[in-house]
């Protein structure tokens, strides 16, 4: 929109009316899509009785009980015993005592969350590293059987991963990889790397090889040219691919249930196991889910510019 040149809009750009309609559709869709997320968040700040009341409460007094329960383990005590204790030292302690309980220690949520971070980011980094180098080789070199290899790489995604769950379970037990972070990183990398190779090959194919050739003639080695010329131009594609890989690894549930139980358990299999007294502790489950959404949200928002450009697969580049 360069002011002073022309105010007439081009024929390929949508007019004001279609823009408004498009915006309205997007807003309505966003609102509908937000309902479950809003519900999860609201549940996370309800008390357990409010969370299961019927009809559901829309107006209620917010409480941090869900978050307290998420991060602590508690035990029930008699009123007499609680009266002998010194005054509560924090909000959570106070809320817990109102329920005739005392905090005994931290829950497993924090370590599970850390496991999720390590495994998801670790496998994403590894997928991108392997994916970029493999995609570059497939894009630039005469790899023997290139098309067959590319098809093979894609074909690893054709079987539903859970179909190989039992063999992997047995294999991991033999190799001592069961319930280890390394095992989960390798597994998620194996699933993601095919996607990464295919996406990244597309992005790298689009970078004319004359760029590297010019650099190589100018006195750079191929590796130097790769870092100085190819990587910067593939950045948007790499970011988009990384987000796809991260979202898969972060949300993965089936393998995590099967292969992790303690040490390396990630947050997704842990959250549903949060039990309160006499049933599921829904506010705590909702609190765990809400916090679980944060890293992906932050990552995506921080990189949204690259992501948007990347997802259009180069169409807006140039």
């Amino acid at each position: 929109m360069s002011r002073g040149i022309s105010h007439a809009h081009s024929i390929v750009e949508p007019g004001p009316l279609s823009r408004r309609i498009a915006a309205a559709v997007v807003v309505v869709y966003a609102l509908v899509a937000m309902v479950p997320l809003a519900w999860i968040f609201l549940t996370s700040i309800k008390t357990p009785p409010d969370s299961i009341s019927y009809p559901p409460k829309v107006v209620f007094k917010p409480s941090l009980e869900g978050y307290c329960n998420l991060f602590t383990t508690r035990s029930r005590q008699t009123q007499d015993y609680i009266d002998t204790l010194p005054p509560p030292s924090g909000t959570c302690e106070r809320i817990t005592r109102e329920r005739n309980m005392v905090v005994v220690g931290p829950s497993n949520y924090a370590p599970r969350f850390v496991n999720s971070l390590v495994i998801a980011f670790g496998s994403t980094a590894l997928s991108i590293l392997l994916g970029t180098t493999a995609a570059y080789a497939f894009s630039r070199f005469k790899v023997p059987l290139r098309d067959d290899l590319m098809f093979f790489i894609l074909s690893t995604r054709m079987m539903p991963p859970i179909a190989v769950a039992i063999p992997i379970f047995l294999m991991y037990r033999e190799l001592g990889l069961s319930d280890t972070r390394l095992g989960m990183i390798l597994l998620y990398t194996a699933v993601n790397v095919s996607l990464a190779v295919w996406l990244l090959k597309g992005f790298i194919d689009e970078i004319p090889r004359e760029y590297e050739e010019a650099a190589m003639v100018d006195g750079y080695t191929r590796l130097q040219a790769f870092f100085r010329v190819v990587l910067p131009q593939a950045a948007t594609g790499i970011v988009a691919t990384a987000i796809f890989c991260l979202i898969f690894a972060w949300n993965e549930y089936a393998f995590a249930v099967l292969l992790t139980s303690g040490e390396a358990q990630t947050a997704p299999p842990f959250i549903p196991t949060i039990i309160g007294e006499g049933g599921q502790d829904w506010p705590a489950v909702a609190a765990g889910t809400t916090l679980f959404l944060v890293p992906i949200l932050v990552f995506t928002v921080l990189l949204r510019k690259q992501l948007l450009r990347g997802i259009t697969f180069g169409a807006v580049r140039k």
Binding site: P208, E210, Y211, E213, A214, A215, M216, V217, D218, G219, Y220, T221, Q224, V229, P232, Q233, K318
Partner: protein, 336 residues
Amino acid sequence: MAEVLLSGVSKRFGDTEAVSGLDLRAGDGEFTVLLGPTGAGKTTTLRLVAGLEKPDAGRIHIGGRDVTATAPAPRDVSFVFQQYSLYPHLSVYDNLAFPLRAPARRLPEAQIRARVEQVAELLRIGDKLANRATQLSGGQMQRVAIGRALVRRPNVYLMDEPLSSLDSKLRAELRVELKRIQRDTGATLLYVTHDQAEALTMATRIGVLDRGRLVQLGAPRDIYEDPVNTYVATRLGSPGINLVPRSLFPGVAAPAATVTIGVRTEHLRVQRDPAGSGRVARIEHLGDQNHLHVTLADATVVVLADPDAPLAVGDAVALQLQSPLFFGADGNRLRH
């Protein structure tokens, strides 16, 4: 600066023989132009010299050193690509400085700055140094691409149709500029074009390529006046040389095997002659000269004529040939 020598170089891509048995010497300090239509193998030849392609056969020497198996960087050449050579993620300044920052021959930043500014001035892009490379017009981008070659003092400059995307005024200016730079620095330049004006004005020697073969190598005048076959003859001259059947000029003394007579537009004398076999079909007025299109039996020849020659469309004329060229059935030149 150094001499470039290709001996018996061949390169295939699948079924196409892009370059076949090419022998070429681009002398030290010479401006050698490779001329040929699209697909003649010009780009491939430059890429072979730069080391971006490996020849299937033959040897390549730069400055007396056999570089046939050498990687591009140590050959120390500069390459201006036909397209795509600016890094979109870098500024114009950084694009120009890029070759000087190569780890293999890194210069101090102060020297880099001096060189970049000097070259930018020369190519009149001094005010664009801070721009991103993508914020330039096509002509400016191409000048940056040329500038990126000129910041270095390599063994050889290789340029692949560097002026083809410029408008004609800038092209004419840069033609003179490039020639001047080359003469002043004594650079060895291997320059590819399909534009005959560029070839004629800049070249020390012109090599004419046809389907991967070098057909003729010589000074521009030799190529123009003394072509070895009809292919070379039609490469130069605007309008092109007239090629007419020998039978249309029975009075001309020609070698026995002559099938075609070639005569350049400026080598035809035309006179009004009611008994003449030609007829003026069309007159193109170009200001300082006229092109007469004269039909002669079923052929048409173009004649360069004085603008004030008293001729009109429909006039019967007689044609006289000066220094005609004779070609045999295979298109090769025949000499007396």
